[in-house]
């Protein structure tokens, strides 16, 4: 019954801007949950604080960007590594059932949580039978 289109932009190469910085960005792991009232989205962005996060809605494309600071790694030399460190970026195309003006976001412990409420007309309704 999922009538909300949450698929990632199918043409990221076209939609994404030209990279001007030499570093690599990573796509965060996300959870997307649909409830009766809307969507909830969680994105793992460890190392990003409030000043480094950017959530933007242009037309129906929601963009999440997180910048990590390399300052803490100053004077550290990698000895053994299992993961790389980079900025985060993800794009989602929202369906028109989402009320873009009421999207809210919070960031805690490196997890960005977005609440994307549905427009009233898109919420499930029980129709009374007389």
């Amino acid at each position: 019954m999922a009538n909300v289109e949450v698929g990632r932009d199918s043409k990221p190469g076209v939609a994404s801007e030209e990279q001007t910085r030499p570093d690599r960005s990573y796509r965060p792991n996300v959870d997307i949950l649909e409830t009766a009232d809307g969507l909830r989205l969680w994105a793992d962005v460890p190392g990003v604080d409030e000043s480094g996060i950017d959530v933007e809605l242009v037309d129906d494309v929601l963009t999440i960007r997180g910048r990590v600071s390399a300052a803490e790694y100053e004077s550290l030399q990698p000895a053994y590594t299992e993961y790389s460190v980079g900025n985060y970026e993800a794009r989602f195309r929202l369906s028109h059932t989402i009320d873009g003006s009421r999207i809210s976001a919070k960031l805690a412990n490196g997890v960005l949580e977005l609440s994307l409420p549905k427009v009233e007309t898109a919420k499930p309704r029980r129709i009374q039978i007389n």
């Binding site: 019954m1 999922a2 909300v4 949450v6 910085r21 030499p22 570093d23 690599r24 792991n29 996300v30 959870d31 997307i32 949950l33 649909e34 409830t35 009766a36 969507l39 909830r40 969680w42 793992d44 962005v45 460890p46 190392g47 990003v48 604080d49 990590v68 390399a70 300052a71 803490e72 790694y73 100053e74 004077s75 550290l76 030399q77 990698p78 000895a79 053994y80 590594t81 299992e82 993961y83 790389s84 460190v85 980079g86 900025n87 805690a108 412990n109 490196g110 997890v111």
Partner: protein, 149 residues
């Protein structure tokens, strides 16, 4: 005369420099002697040496974990890092996407003898845990004064 020159290999961007360093270190043999248990198990760890010292810095990405959710224990040369997320209210609905890994974790890291896990310090900020394990005093170079008669 240019005071600073940035060669092709030394970009000015610190994040890029870090990424290049990490890429090189992926093939480093250092990790094999570490006795890392649960390899490939969440969460991933990076191990650094602080330049100019023998101090070891262990970095673990644990998004969603508050400092109070994480415990670090030292047993001999082993550091055991475990996390238990605060209970999350189960949300009603259907998942469209479920990529995040949440839940309890535990990892053990066997450290070289040169460092002292008993004196390790830990900070957790924005879902990144950073453990600093200082070098043992006895391995630090010491100047021995020479006396003569």
């Amino acid at each position: 005369m240019a005071l600073f020159t940035y060669g092709r290999d030394v970009p000015a961007n610190p994040l890029f420099r870090l990424q290049e360093d990490l890429k090189r270190a992926f093939e480093s043999p250092f990790g094999h002697g570490l006795g890392l248990f649960g390899r490939g198990v969440r969460p991933a760890i990076n191990i650094f040496k602080r330049a100019g010292t023998e101090d070891v810095v262990v970095v673990i990405e644990a998004p969603g974990f508050a400092p109070a959710d994480i415990s670090v224990e030292s047993q001999g040369q082993t550091l055991v890092v475990s996390g238990k997320p605060a209970g999350q209210a189960a949300a009603e609905g259907a998942y469209h996407r479920r990529e995040r890994v949440t839940g309890e974790f535990s990892r053990s890291i066997q450290l070289p003898r040169d460092v002292d896990p008993a004196r390790a310090t830990a900070t957790c900020k924005n879902g990144v845990l950073m453990l600093t394990v200082p070098a043992r005093e006895e391995i630090k170079p010491r100047q021995i004064s020479v006396t003569g008669g």
